[in-house]
């Protein structure tokens, strides 16, 4: 790679179809069961799936667990047992013990391989036991890590009511967000608030975010006079937003391409394709695009963005001019890379488990534009990277920071390569203007740690080895 050539080039894509490490998509259970408070997640799989959730994800069960394994045993695999009866027995037990508003079945590789007809069984069982059952096939044969959320939300999109409620009582229940925003306000004030909104086609946002971030982004759009009619997922299954034909939808996460497709094809919504609201630049682009589509003149975005950048200056000084390498893990890579380039970093490689060029089109274009504006070379995007080869490349280019899955972090650190776990970006609050600082807090932490250890001569903590990839 020659650093001199900065004339516009196109992004380079490559698919290594290598042996790479990432988490299993069933891991979405870890955040979704917390997000959807009246849910119960049942992962239908083997001990391997269960041990993963328990050990690698560290999902702890508490006094009132809201997720469990339906562990398939030899009899299930050899089809001696009847799937319907088995699932019924388990779901009745869940109903009795926990009484959730919805049971989400997470299909796994095993249910794919033995071709369990989950979609066929669910509707029958649902009417028999009287609890909605949503089926998501979040298996590791077809998907990686965060895409699990995509499979769940795509399945839930079918459960959003067809019509907005007209009854006052129902309205109240479904309008949890506006009552949250209007919390503590008098009724008249709330009505006055209502008039602050511009008249536009209803907009529903999709993507699972922690509640405070939901509020922040909702408020951010409210500043522009845009009303968010609802979020998929909602805090409670019973509060899923109504979605009518012709509604606009916008995704806040880069890994939700199936949900987007489902909303467009099945629910006849119009997708607003934009960069994702990650980093001040992304958040601004996201709001601008929504405004443009809804035909609203955005106001105050320049100042808002500038003010955020200003508040980031102390962190920017640490990252400017540094290089970062994404090994690829959670599909947030392109958005994070684009933000970090804007922060003044260079990105040599973006590994990513799966690249949907259409759903991420606006983000990819934004990345290109950002690189050109910042005068840095375009990163190479490597789909399904081969971790072994990546480590050779890391060894060669010695990036200042490697954002990597958990399996490689300690070994890289031991060889003097600074790392940050990619999963932290999955769990941290990184969306919107307000949380830009949190992204940089994470990114700079290892760099600041290095700074404080500097001079101790402890960079490499392994003896030179002949056989190791970094030897």
């Amino acid at each position: 790679m020659t650093l001199a050539e900065t004339q516009p080039q196109a992004l380079e894509f490559e698919c290594e179809t290598g042996n790479y490490h990432t988490f299993c998509p069933i891991s979405c259970v870890a955040w979704l069961y917390q997000k959807i408070e009246d849910s119960f997640f049942l992962v239908i799989g083997t001990k391997t799936c269960g041990y993963f959730l328990q050990n690698a994800m560290g999902v702890m069960i508490f006094a009132e667990p809201r997720y469990a394994m339906a562990e398939l045993e030899e009899g299930d695999i050899s089809a001696q047992l009847n799937d319907y009866e088995e699932l019924k027995r388990l779901c009745l037990q869940i109903k009795r013990d926990r009484n959730p508003s919805v049971i989400v079945w997470i299909g796994t590789c095993t249910t794919e391989i033995i071709k369990t007809d989950l979609e066929g069984i669910a509707p029958r069982l649902e009417s028999e036991i009287g609890i909605p059952i949503v089926v998501a096939r979040a298996n590791g044969l077809d998907y990686a890590f965060t895409q699990g959320e995509d499979t769940v939300l795509a399945a839930m999109a079918h459960r959003c009511p067809e019509k907005s409620p007209t009854l006052e009582s129902e309205k109240k229940e479904r309008n949890a967000i506006s009552s949250l925003l209007n919390f503590g306000k008098k009724k008249e004030e709330a009505i006055a608030e209502e008039s602050a909104y511009r008249d536009h086609t209803p907009l529903v946002l999709f993507g699972s975010l922690p509640d405070p971030v939901v509020t922040q982004l909702t408020l951010e759009l409210k500043r522009q006079g845009i009303k968010v009619s609802g979020w998929l997922p909602s805090k409670r299954f019973t509060e899923l937003p109504a979605i009518e034909e012709g509604y606009y939808v916008s995704g806040v996460n880069p890994f939700l391409s199936r949900t987007a497709t489902t909303l467009m094809r099945r629910r006849k919504c119009k997708l607003i394709g934009s960069p994702f609201p990650i980093g001040p630049d992304g958040t601004r682009a996201w709001i601008e695009k929504i405004c443009a589509v809804l035909d609203i003149e955005p106001k105050g975005l320049d100042e808002r963005e500038a003010q955020i950048w200003e508040s980031l200056e102390d962190y920017l000084q640490i990252v400017r001019g540094k290089s970062v390498f994404f090994m690829g893990d959670n599909l947030l890579e392109v958005s994070l890379a684009r933000f970090l380039v804007r922060c003044g970093m260079t990105v040599s490689e973006i590994g990513i488990p799966y690249m949907d060029k259409r759903y991420q089109a606006a983000e990819l274009a934004f990345l290109e534009k950002t690189c050109q504006e910042m005068g840095v070379p375009l990163p190479k995007i490597v789909e399904k990277p081969d971790n072994y080869n990546q480590i050779q490349r890391i060894k060669e280019i010695q990036p200042d920071l490697v954002i990597t899955g958990m399996a490689h972090a300690n070994p890289l650190e031991a060889r003097g390569i600074t790392t940050k776990w990619s999963v932290e970006f999955t769990f941290a609050q990184i969306h919107g203007f307000t949380n830009a600082r949190d992204i940089l807090e994470l990114v700079t932490r290892p760099l600041r740690r290095n700074n404080s250890l500097k001079g101790l001569g402890w960079e490499k903590l392994v003896r030179e080895e002949a056989t190791s990839p970094l030897g």
Partner: protein
């Protein structure tokens, strides 16, 4: 189908990979879907491993499912062979990929033709065996493979070592305090004038496995891993083995006496009585603790023990015999080896429980209301809810089981560590516990930054009084958590009920 909330032992492939990656220069290849390769994460994160875990996943995806994986697996084996030149490559499916019923034997055979490394298929029924059983079997399989090979090549060394010597079998990566136990046992053997012939598998080279028959005896400290290997070596070479877990003063002495007996039968003429007596009465602190006033105060206190066979049995004996603690229930999750456990502990406890169901164990603990629990991370959680302190004595492992400092559970130093664990669990447990009760560990909800810091909440007199009873070092935290709770639920005043409701909600 089984509704399962928690697993005490992992799936079989974890056991196989623990063995493979414990050896030096052995590479594991998993034939499995993408998400199954978290063994690498566990090894790197839980045990803070510096080296890349020598395990590669040969990914089974939709394409492989449609077309079969033959080329891919074979290619991955030959590729690893060329890249890293391991001595041995172990191929394993997971319970998921084993359903595909592919002829992995055939892949291994094909790969062996070109690979310079030896290539083995871990021969395990993934639905029948758990992590521990699979580890035991894989270790046996690898040992047998290299013994057979040496026999064929005529390189099997003849006779025993000149001086008394031992193989310590069963030390593995991701084992519960295994690394410290290994050090302690090596020290103990040195003190006894016994040469350590091999420690396997952790850190061992497969090429040294042919040296195993040279040892005078084999020591199998853990019931779960290594026993079948020791039995095999006894059958093949007549090497005696000792499977007494040297945990606690009494059992350590019993183990040493068994060693003495076996060495003397082979003509060594050793006498360890003086050593045992000296260690017990003057060097180790554990026996002295049993005599001390501190221990007197523990007399008759009730405890529940739960864990794997090795640790639960050993701990039950220590508590009952060495500390006069009343073990109301001792339990194991090693269902497949339940008879042994019963036989070991029956005389030292009121009730024996064999179960893999954490709910059942939790209920039992609640019924017994012990003053302390000695169990796994799961029982620690149960204890947290029930307000009962818990010392962790067995896997499933947690990063906390890889302390940086030296903390063996075996031998004389191990006995000291166990004393500290027991003492701290009974006495300090309660204070430390307050932190956890009031959500010191709960990171699920963040107190939102946007929430105004000035409290708009009033504390009633009784609420304030109750708050003041809470030790100073956690009071601030409790106050914050309670106020957050009150705000969330819309209370404007915090009285003693609200304080407790907050405590309950955090515990839930």
């Amino acid at each position: 189908m089984k509704l399962a909330y928690w697993m005490y032992a992992g799936p079989a492939h974890i056991g196989t990979l623990r063995i493979a990656s414990s050896f030096q220069n052995v590479h594991g290849i998993m034939h499995a879907p993408l998400g199954d390769d978290y063994f690498n994460v566990m090894r790197s994160m839980l045990s803070r491993e510096r080296d890349f875990t020598p395990v590669t996943i040969s990914v089974v995806d939709r394409h492989v499912l449609a077309r079969g994986s033959q080329e891919k697996v074979v290619n991955n084996i030959t590729r690893k062979d060329a890249e890293e030149h391991p001595d041995l490559i172990v191929l394993t499916p997971t319970c998921t990929s084993s359903i595909l019923q592919e002829d992995l034997h055939n892949f291994v055979e094909r790969a062996s033709q070109t690979a310079e490394s030896d290539v083995l298929l871990a021969d395990i029924n993934h639905y029948r065996y758990n992590e521990l059983q699979a580890a035991d079997r894989t270790l046996g399989q690898i040992i047998k493979f290299y013994i057979d090979q040496a026999r064929k090549d005529g390189t099997l060394p003849q006779g025993k070592t000149e001086k008394p010597s031992v193989n310590i079998i069963g030390m593995t990566t991701l084992g519960f305090h295994n690394n410290h136990d290994a050090t302690e046992l090596k020290r103990l053997m040195t003190d006894l004038g016994i040469e350590v012939n091999e420690v396997i598998p952790e850190g061992a080279s497969v090429h040294n496995l042919k040296r195993l028959p040279q040892a005078w005896f084999n020591l199998v400290p853990y019931r779960e891993i290594g026993l079948s290997s020791a039995q095999y070596l006894q059958e093949e070479f007549g090497t005696p083995f000792i499977d007494i877990t040297p945990m606690g003063i009494v059992e350590t002495a019993r183990c040493i006496r068994a060693i003495q007996k076996t060495l003397n039968e082979q003509g060594a003429g050793v006498n360890y009585e003086e050593f045992i007596d000296n260690q017990t009465r003057f060097v180790s602190q554990a026996a002295w603790f049993s005599r001390s006033i501190d221990c007197q105060n523990l007399t008759g206190k009730k405890a529940v023990v739960f864990g794997d066979n090795t640790h639960a049995a050993a701990m039950t004996k220590i508590l009952a015999r060495e500390m006069g603690i009343h073990v109301v229930m001792a339990g194991t999750y090693c269902k497949y080896d339940a008879d042994w456990f019963r036989e070991q502990v029956s005389e030292y406890c009121d009730e024996v429980l064999i179960s893999e169901d954490n709910g059942e164990i939790g209920d039992k603990i609640a019924q017994h209301e012990p003053s302390a629990i000695f169990g796994t991370q799961m029982e620690r959680h149960v204890g947290k809810r029930l307000d009962i302190p818990c010392g962790v004595i067995a896997a499933p492992i947690h990063i906390q089981n890889f302390p940086v400092g030296y903390t063996p559970y075996m031998g004389y130093e191990g006995a000291n560590q166990i004393v500290d664990l027991v003492y701290n669990s009974f006495t300090l447990g309660m204070e430390d516990h307050l932190l956890e009760i009031f959500g010191g560990h709960d990171t699920k909800e963040v107190i939102t930054k946007t929430m105004s810091a000035d409290s708009d909440l009033a504390w009633t007199k009784d609420g304030q009084a109750e708050l003041n009873k809470i030790p100073g070092f956690v009071r601030g935290k409790v106050k914050r958590n309670t106020e957050k709770f009150a705000r969330d639920r819309g209370f404007s005043e915090i009285n003693v009920e609200v304080l407790y409701a907050a405590k309950e909600s955090v515990g839930a």
